[in-house]
Symmetry: C2
Subunit: 276 residues, 2 copies
Amino acid sequence: MELVSRTATFGGEIRRLKHRSEACDCDMTFGVFLPPQAQRGPVPALLWLSGLTCTDENFMIKAGAQRVAAELGLAIVCPDTSPRGTDFPGEHDDYDFGSGAGFYVNATQAPWSANYRMYDYVTRELPALVEAELPVNGKWGISGHSMGGHGALICCLKNPGKYLSVTAFAPICNPSNGGWGQKAFINYLGEDRNDWAEYDAAVLIGSAEEKLPLLIDQGTDDEWLSDQLKPGSLEQAAIASHYPLTLRMQEGYDHGYYFVATFIEDHLRHHARALS
Amino acid sequence: MELVSRTATFGGEIRRLKHRSEACDCDMTFGVFLPPQAQRGPVPALLWLSGLTCTDENFMIKAGAQRVAAELGLAIVCPDTSPRGTDFPGEHDDYDFGSGAGFYVNATQAPWSANYRMYDYVTRELPALVEAELPVNGKWGISGHSMGGHGALICCLKNPGKYLSVTAFAPICNPSNGGWGQKAFINYLGEDRNDWAEYDAAVLIGSAEEKLPLLIDQGTDDEWLSDQLKPGSLEQAAIASHYPLTLRMQEGYDHGYYFVATFIEDHLRHHARALS
C-alpha cells in the first residue's frame, strides 16, 4: 500500500492509501480515519459506502463524522465508488453509471465484468487488506449513503455474521424498480431480473438469515425519494418478514451531505454500541 | 436578495443568497447558517472570512460548525473571498492573487480599485444587509482562516466596538513580511509600505484601541507557518502592547479544514460567551 496523504484531525488521523486491487484489476484509493485510541491498540471499524459521483473523500470532508468517531474509538474506512483508470465506451459520460457508480455489484456483462467487481472489493478484498495492515480488530459495522446505502444493506443482508451493525442514509432500497438501479443492473448484470434480486435490499430482506437492527434516516424533501429510493418497499418487506427496521423520516431534509452530517452522530453511536 | 438555495441542517438551515454589491460593483453570493433559535427571534452572528481559493461554501461544507452553532443559537455568515464576474488581466491566473484572493482590503490601484473593495464589503455593506434582511440581532463576532484569519484580525483591530469577539485559525499575521501578503499589497495598495500597515495585524495590534481577548489556533505542521503566517510577529507585538492573545500551537496539525474542524467548537463557544 502506498500512503497518498496523512492528516491529523481530532487527535487521530486520516490516511489516504492506494493499492493494487485484485477484485477490480486496477489501482484503488481508499481513506481511513484512525481515532486516537488506535495508537494504543486495534479498534473496531465502520465501513462507509458512498453514493453516486463520490470518491473516497466526500464522506471524510463533508460528514463531520471524525469528532464522534474519535470519542467512540471507531475507525472509518471509505472506499471509492467504482474502479478507476479504465476507459470503456460511455464509462465517464453519465453521473449515474460507470465511473463513480459501481453500485457495489460484481458485474457479469462485458466489458464491465473485467473490472466492476465492487461487491467483492468491499466485502472481501478491502476489509482483509485493512485488517492485515491497519490497527483494526476485525469487528465491522457498515453504513452508507444513497447508492452506498444500498451497498450497505445488500452487503449486510448477504453476509450474515460479517457485520455487527448496519445503518443507512437515504438508501436506494429497491433498485430493481427505480431508474438508477435499472440502468445499472441492465448494464452490469444483464436483462434477467432474477439476477437483480441478488442485489436488491427490498428482496433480500424477506429471507435474511440474520436480523441485525437496521437504522435508516431518510429526508422528506429528498428529490429522489419516490422515484429512486423507495424506502416504502423496504419497509413493507421488513414488516412482512418481521425484520427490525427503524425508518426515520426526517422532516424537511434533502438528499445531501448536510442531511448526513445532521444525523451521523446517531448512526455512529448505534454502531459503537454493537461494536464495543 | 435572490435565494440561491436553502438546505435544512441541524434543525436550522443554510441559505445561499445573491445580491448586487455596491462596494464591489458586482453580484456577490454569500452563505448564512440560521440556527433553529432564529425561527423564534433574532440571534447573534459570527462573520466567517475564508482563505485563498475559497468561496462562500467551503466553510459551510467542511468545518462541521453547524452542530455547535445550532446548540449555541449562533448564526454564521460566510462571504465570498473576492469580487466575481470581472476579468482583469491576470485576475484568474494565480491561486494567491485576484479572484478568490481579495485579502479583505480596499484596493487603491487600477484596475483593482474598481471592484476589489472587500474591506468595505465585509465590514459595512454585508453586515448591514444581513441585519436588514435576516433574523440577526446586531451582535457580531468575527473569525476566519488563513487569508480570512488575517481579515478577521484587521477588521476587528480597525473597528473598535464593532465586534464582541474575535478568533482566527492559522491567520496571515504579518502580511507585509510574507510572499502572499506582499504580492497582494503591492498590486492592490501600491509600493508604499506605509499603506500596507493599515492592513497588517502585527502592526495594528500595537495601537489597538480595544483589547478583545484574541484566540488563535495554529498547527505546528502547517507548511505555510514560517514563510507566510508568522504568528511569532503577532505574538511579539501583542506582548509588547499587553494585548490579551492566546496563541495555541497545535502539535501535528496542518493548514487544512481537518485542522479547522478539530478546533471550531472551541472557537464557537468562545464567541458565544461574548455574544449571549
